[in-house]
Symmetry: C2
Subunit: 431 residues, 2 copies
């Protein structure tokens, strides 16, 4: 009998999502293979999964001071949200209403709205104010079952303000790593998104802003290790294909991994660029071309789909998830949490939208929110499944099956979240 | 200084929704008039609203032993869910998945699914088992801000089993009215829906089942005061227009109010029938005709829209809410909570869907979920707005504006729910 820290046993449905250590899940068969163990158990020690198996088998091999009885519960890996913009100031509730009434992007911009509203607010805020604003949102990610988020800068658009955003992210991350820290924050993978928009002061000099990004921002971010990835908002009239390539080449030179906001509104060739540059993911992809799908597949780029954005904007052009999955492209899901176009911290909500709007199966939605999202962050060796040696990031759900996560929509079925072996929350079970 | 039980003060945005005591809100102007008081306060005594006004004014007139400081919060009337099916057994998660994969109604029925699955489970269950199953769902309604629900029978389809469902509802209601009862249940308005489906034992004898409803079920339900309304699922190949009229006429004779599941799939004339029969509401209405809208308006029938059903079925034919509102028809929103087609207890979720899918404004969605829903239950004299003399059913939201309820989607912004003057829950503020 080996001694461990924690055993979770009698799990009605233990969804391990195991067996994707070599590559992300691609194709309908692989994305529907969840590695489910009925009457399962997990042994946890030093923040890691020691073993997953049947209750009978685990109890024969391990003993622990602390046990959790999960009768009637579903247990899954902690959810991973591979695309968020959580550090900002202010909200855009009025803009949400204007869009419902049919206001165009231009009309909203003319009223001082849109992303530039958030940029003004962020520039005027201190790092401390940004952190105070972000903290409840970060707690809510955990509360809805998400143990790791990717977090982008991109509302500063000056060297100083982008650094301020990335420092705020880094400070949150240090709280998580400190065992005495406040509980309830997700782990964070930081992404530099200076190329989120062209700021007003460069509106007639886009190349000047690109030069600022490549010559000042990226070197500074890299030197101070403030980001793991560099992302670009590649879109017509913002950063076009050649602009995006220039920025990504600089980022690669400075050792950053690459991501791309690609083909959201028009099939500009963003997916193809992501493949050519060896990006870890291309995100949005509502207007992706067949060639884009093919090139991403060949280079192993994960398609990160953000259907909450399409939903919240009241649009109908969801990314062609079914076509991507059936073609064999690995797909992940993310919230795109941001105050302008997708104001939700709930990946379960995104899973519901992905099922009903993009016809993903509940199993595909779960794979896309766990192991494939881990691949989209370069973290698949550590998180995304419940396998020996991976981090003990675990969610207990008040539900008899993982299918309830998308099926029982708009409510929180999370009962307990365990992050790196430590229980973070125990929500009201009727939440 | 008058003494009251409770004062809620410093409310950043007090949304009274007051001023609809004569008729439901109809037309865009009326449905966008929320009676907002900035820096507002409420005085509560004996479970009733004594006064609503500015903090300054209320504090000059009233004092209370108990106060709640609502700085930074939005306060609205308790939400009212005018259409739910909360008493059932089992779930239909597998059916949710089959539908996503394109299974037809017939294919699901052939696998033993659909409503008849739920009917079999309910017939096999005791009243106590039904109550044990329903209790967490009822708690969750409160937890998401709903203080009153309408609850239908309709999964029994025999005299005995329909009575069993209505008795379960009545027993829950008695818990709420008992001051020593367990906290956290919504108030309930019961509806008899024996005409929900034609049970298998009558599949070649529909008139025999209609006779059972009119000659046995309705008289018994009426005699024992087990329901306030009678509803009929009026649809092609189920209860057609003439069948529905026959049942509603019987219900009216026995003193029940009338409701109708109308024009969900085809414009059968259900809206017109509801108007002719003087129903309090017609519900679903995705396929309503222009004439149906006109006739409902003339007779003051509230249109209860259930967009969660359209969403969860992955359909595109939302009810024409914009057309209805702009024509002047009073519109309410409801969850249609049920295990087959809309498995959510969250009216805020429904408000989000109503905004993005049906282009209702946040204000229209709130009116539709409060005062107009109260009208759809014949309860507008008592609930649905924060006005002197009405029940103190109040929600404090962790949000600076009511617009956040639909805007910040898929998460729970409810902080405190007060029902009949008593705080029911105080959720995790990051829920």
């Amino acid at each position: 009998m080996k001694k461990v820290d924690l055993i979770i046993h009698n799990i009605s449905e233990l969804v391990t999502v195991s067996g994707s250590n070599n590559r992300p899940r691609a194709g309908a068969a692989a994305m529907n293979d969840l590695g489910i163990i009925t009457d399962g158990a997990l042994a946890v020690k030093d923040g890691k999964i020691i073993a997953a198996g049947t209750t009978n088998k685990i109890k024969k091999q391990y003993r622990a001071g602390k046990t959790i009885n999960a009768t009637g519960k579903t247990v899954t890996p902690g959810l991973i949200d591979a695309h968020t913009h959580p550090i900002f100031m202010g909200d855009r509730a009025d803009e949400f209403e204007l869009k419902l009434k049919g206001a165009t992007y231009q009309e909203i911009a003319a009223k001082g709205g849109g992303i530039k509203f958030t940029v003004r607010k962020v520039r005027a805020a201190s790092k401390q104010e940004l952190k105070t604003n972000a903290r409840p949102y970060l707690h809510r990610f955990i509360n809805y079952g998400t143990t790791t988020i990717e977090a982008k800068s991109g509302y500063g658009l000056t060297l100083k303000d982008e650094i301020k955003l990335l420092e705020a992210i880094k400070e949150f991350k240090s709280e998580i790593r400190n065992p005495k820290s406040e509980i309830g924050l997700p782990d964070i993978v930081p992404t530099f998104l200076g190329a989120h928009e062209i700021p007003d002061e460069y509106k007639n000099n886009k190349q000047g802003y690109i030069n600022l990004i490549t010559a000042k921002m990226i070197p500074e971010v890299s030197r101070r290790k403030l980001a793991r990835f560099c992302d670009v908002f590649c879109e017509k009239n913002v950063f076009e294909i050649d602009d995006s390539r220039e920025i990504l080449e600089s980022a690669r030179k400075y050792g950053l991994g690459l991501k791309l906001h690609a083909d959201e509104f028009a099939p500009l060739g963003g997916a193809e660029l992501a493949a050519q540059m060896g990006a870890v993911s291309a995100d949005h992809l509502m207007a992706i071309s067949d060639n884009g799908i093919k090139q991403m597949m060949q280079k192993g780029v994960v398609g990160v789909l953000l259907p909450g954005t399409t939903f919240a904007l009241g649009l109908k052009n969801y990314a062609p998830a079914r076509k991507m999955i059936d073609a064999g492209l690995p797909v992940a899901l993310a919230t795109d949490f941001n105050p302008g176009t997708s104001f939700t911290e709930s990946l379960p909500m995104i899973m519901s939208i992905a099922c009903v709007m993009m016809r993903m199966t509940p199993a595909e939605a779960l794979v896309a929110s766990t192991v494939n999202a881990a691949w989209a962050l370069g973290e698949a060796a550590n998180i995304g499944s419940l396998e020996t040696g991976k981090d003990a990031d675990i969610v207990l759900w008040s539900a008899p099956s993982y299918k309830h996560i998308p099926y029982h929509f708009g409510v929180n079925l999370v009962e307990t979240v365990i992050q790196k072996g430590e229980p973070q929350i125990h929500t009201d079970k009727h939440g």
